[in-house]
């Protein structure tokens, strides 16, 4: 009986998934008949969706934050106003604009808030009827969206706007948001394809992509609130959290008790995400001139699967200082587990008078390479009058939460317990006596031998 019920629920939820992908959207005929006038067309049948959307992080790029050091409890933080050395700017100081002409006479549009589903005239965090009417619903919901229309341009009155595809063709062809929907913005964050987090959602790189899973199969969306985890650099959230353990997996997912026994101390990601990729270091003080005449922050990059993580105890609270943003935790606090992180180091200007990291408007250095002019422009926008810029480095830890390797590439016993294993037991707080035990082949010898014989 129970089995039947379980099967039935499974069948229903599975049908639900299929419905989203295959069935015709019930509003199609209405849209074909009445055209598409933006969100208000959708609101005829889905009232309240626009207002709901502008309350989420994907519109506000900020929220209150309660697990990070040195932030004020009543203020909001996010890409709108944060400053760290992956970006060194934000929606405010590096607002979307046409940059001055470079020495080849070329200009271009650039700015952080190009990754926003508004039209820029209604910008990050805007509210009211104009904002609600500006939402690009089809960017996420259409399967026939023409992305060549989604580009920055100047309106007749000189205001820079981001175009949208509001054609009936796009509005009449809705489908479930896919990986590439989300990758519209998430793919090229940090200054280029796979630069920031360096993960790829292809079958070869990711065990879930190999099963045709998409972002929102894990990030289950409720009323446009997209759940997130506890990456030390993802501060803004909509109050929903996800992790490997919960609705998808248990703490003991293996047929093998010896692996399961690690769950209380070692996060799933540690064994299952052995590599990521992306930028490992950037210099914002000296930009590199490109052949097209523009400059960009000097960046050391790696392909996906090329960077080896650093491992640290993490209790989901975050150290936030001018020289370091990363995990807090310890072996003995009872809340931490060992997690993998991509280490990134960025050089930028600090204010010698306060020790704070200064932010940068990218427009001036993009065209001339003059990074101090970028700092001056940002300081002016923020009303900072007293500053003395000095270069310095910041170290940042990014969580490795994607690109779950195919299971045969998951870390095995000797990857950690051999003397040259990936974990620095000493730094992780183990005593010499414990390390002797943890690096004793006794722990794994028989089992690896058996496996080897099976495979020979």
């Amino acid at each position: 009986m129970i089995k039947k019920i379980v099967f039935f629920t499974f069948a229903v939820s599975f049908a639900g998934v299929c419905y989203g992908q295959a069935a015709e959207h019930p509003g199609k005929e209405y849209i074909l008949k009445n055209g598409y006038q933006g969100p208000k067309t959708c609101e005829v049948c889905h009232p309240g969706k626009a207002k709901e959307f502008i309350g989420t992080v994907h519109w506000t790029h900020a929220s209150k934050v309660d697990n990070v050091d040195n932030v004020k409890p009543n203020e909001v933080y996010g890409m709108k106003n944060r400053n760290y050395t992956m970006c060194n700017g934000n929606d405010i100081v590096n607002n979307l604009k046409e940059v001055p002409a470079n020495d080849k006479g070329k200009t271009k549009f650039s700015g952080c808030n190009s990754c926003h589903p508004g039209d820029h005239a209604s910008d990050v965090g805007s509210t009211g009827p104009a904002a609600e009417a500006a939402i690009d619903c089809l960017l996420c919901h259409s399967v026939k969206y023409d992305f060549s229309k989604r580009k920055p341009m100047k309106r007749n009155d000189g205001v820079v706007i981001i175009g949208q595809d509001r054609s009936v063709e796009a509005a009449a062809n809705l489908g479930r948001p896919s990986n590439k929907t989300c990758m519209t913005c998430h793919e090229a964050a940090g200054g280029g394809v796979y630069v920031k987090r360096g993960f790829e959602m292809t079958a070869a790189a990711d065990a879930h992509a190999a099963k045709k899973m998409v972002c929102i199969d894990c990030h289950v969306v409720k009323n446009h609130r997209i759940p997130t985890g506890f990456d030390p650099n993802n501060w803004a959230h909509d109050g929903l959290r996800l992790s490997c353990v919960g609705s998808c997996h248990t703490e003991k997912p293996h047929k093998d008790a010896q692996i399961d026994n690690h769950s209380s101390k070692i996060a799933c990601q540690t064994c299952h995400i052995p590599k990521t990729g992306g930028a490992t270091a950037k210099d914002f003080t000296v930009w590199t001139k490109l052949d097209n005449g523009f400059y960009e922050p000097s960046t050391l990059k790696k392909e996906v699967n090329e960077t080896t993580p650093i491992y640290a105890w993490y209790n989901q609270t975050v150290a936030n200082r001018p020289d370091f943003i990363g995990p807090k935790g310890s072996r003995i606090d009872g809340k931490s587990k060992i997690y993998p992180f991509k280490v990134f180091q960025g050089k930028a200007y600090y204010n010698k008078k306060t020790g704070e990291l200064l932010s940068m408007d990218f427009a001036p250095p993009s065209s001339t390479g003059d990074t101090l002019a970028g700092v001056a422009s940002a300081a002016k926008i923020l009303g900072i009058k007293e500053y003395e810029p000095v270069p310095g480095w910041q170290t940042i830890y990014f969580s490795s939460n994607h690109q779950v390797a195919p299971k045969k590439r998951a870390l095995s016993c000797a990857n950690c317990h051999a003397p040259n294993g990936i974990l620095n037991f000493k730094e992780l707080g183990y005593s010499n006596e414990e390390i002797k035990n943890l690096t004793n082949p006794e722990l794994y010898f028989q089992r690896l031998l058996k496996k080897q014989i099976e495979e020979e």
Binding site: G111, F147, K180, T184, A189, G192, V193, T202, D291, E456
Partner: protein, 107 residues
Amino acid sequence: MKRVLSGVLVAAFMLVSVVMFSQTAQADEGKIVGTISKLVISADKKSATVVLKDIKSGEDLTVLITDDLTLDKFNDKRIVEGDEIRCKYEKDGGKNSSKMFKKTAGC
């Protein structure tokens, strides 16, 4: 017996890898940063031919694209004529086959 077999296998494997290795070593690899001056998707949508104008030299290079991810980006116009691309390719039999094809821009 098992030993002998695996020995043979190892030898065969080594031979194959030597051959493969020398092949990749022979194959001419190139890279280019250029703007797309022409983009033609084949009738069966399984490939596309792109002309890239080298930013540095101004010379044209024709590249063949066959990977689904990139083809899909042509299809919904995420990548269009005029975009600046960083591309790595392999010369095989007179064709330049793309191995990496990414927009240079980010945010």
